[in-house]
């Protein structure tokens, strides 16, 4: 009997993604402890990490961080494969899709605030689309949509400002502008 050794080489990229995903997971867990008046309305602090990763390391890395965050926070919060998990996943997928398009906007005019607000709308849009199609088919969601959209706008803008301030204070904005 021969021992076969499977080697999984770990690159620096993998470590970085794991570290950033851990940060996003931590923010998701911290956020889950916050009481919310309406289920589903959350600040989405993990999106700050996703956005920073997107701007610094590109879309693939952001998708990895976002996907790992959804999976791991599902495990840790005990909601893996429960409706809440699927809503979260639908939101993450839509928001990444929006970001894939939005990151090609000219960065001269569209900064992190635009990306954050658009991603937040993508998030809530994906969640509501899945909820409307699967969990709550009917008209009840229409009445809730303005509330969710307003929350997405406010939290998206706040997160965007945080990202922009972080980029400026850490001096990353210059390196990013050199890259683009």
């Amino acid at each position: 009997m021969t021992h076969s050794v499977i080697e999984l080489p770990v690159h620096a990229d993998d470590r970085r993604i794991a570290r950033l995903a851990a940060l996003a997971i931590g923010l998701t867990l911290a956020e889950a402890a916050l009481p919310s008046p309406v289920p589903g309305i959350k600040p989405g602090l993990a999106n700050i990490v996703v956005l920073l990763v997107l701007m610094q390391y590109g879309w693939r890395a952001a998708a990895w961080v976002s996907g790992l965050r959804v999976l791991a926070s599902g495990l840790l919060l005990g909601s893996l494969f429960a409706p809440g998990f699927w809503l979260s996943a639908a939101g993450a997928v839509t928001s990444l899709g929006v970001l894939a398009l939005a990151r090609h906007l000219p960065s001269q005019f569209f900064g992190p605030i635009s990306l954050s607000v658009l991603a937040a709308f993508g998030h809530i849009g994906g969640q509501l689309a899945l909820a409307g199609a699967w969990l709550l088919p009917g008209i009840a969601l229409i009445k809730l949509m303005p509330v969710f959209a307003a929350a997405a706008l406010v939290f998206g803008a706040v997160n965007g400002v945080i990202v922009a301030r972080f980029l400026v204070s850490s001096g990353l904005d210059k390196t990013i502008q050199q890259k683009t």
């Binding site: 569209f110 709308f121 303005p146 706008l153």
Partner: protein, 120 residues
């Protein structure tokens, strides 16, 4: 340079979207007809297009119903507590004013009929 030109545009567009959703989601269905009942039987069906007045007789006396473009109300009623009169103008589909002592009611209907209540 925290807020760039496009960011302001995105924020404006987002605000516009929220307002549009609020108007669309919360305005409800504008009614277009008023159904007037006396003792449970429909006595008049009037469209809310022009000014009309109806006098409906019930056990206590005459209930006057006023219809204007887009709205309807019970103008006078002989009931002691005047609840249906105090309801004022009705505009949305599904709204109704009941004058129970005089057994007269006005109900607004729109393109879609809404439910009074839903039990799950």
């Amino acid at each position: 340079m925290l807020l760039r030109a496009g960011d302001a545009g995105v924020l404006f567009a987002g605000t516009g979207l929220v307002i549009t959703l609020a108007i669309y989601g919360w305005s409800g269905d504008q009614g277009d007809t008023a159904v007037i009942r006396a003792a449970g039987q429909i006595v008049e069906t009037a469209s809310l297009t022009h000014v009309q007045r109806f006098a409906i007789n019930g056990p206590l006396g005459t209930t006057q119903i006023e219809i204007e473009p887009g709205r309807a109300r019970v103008a006078r009623d002989p009931s002691p507590r005047q609840l249906c009169v105090k309801q004022g103008w009705l505009t949305r589909s599904g709204q109704a004013a009941l004058c129970l002592p005089n057994q007269v009611s006005v109900e607004i209907r729109g393109r879609t009929t809404v439910y009074d209540t839903l039990g799950y």
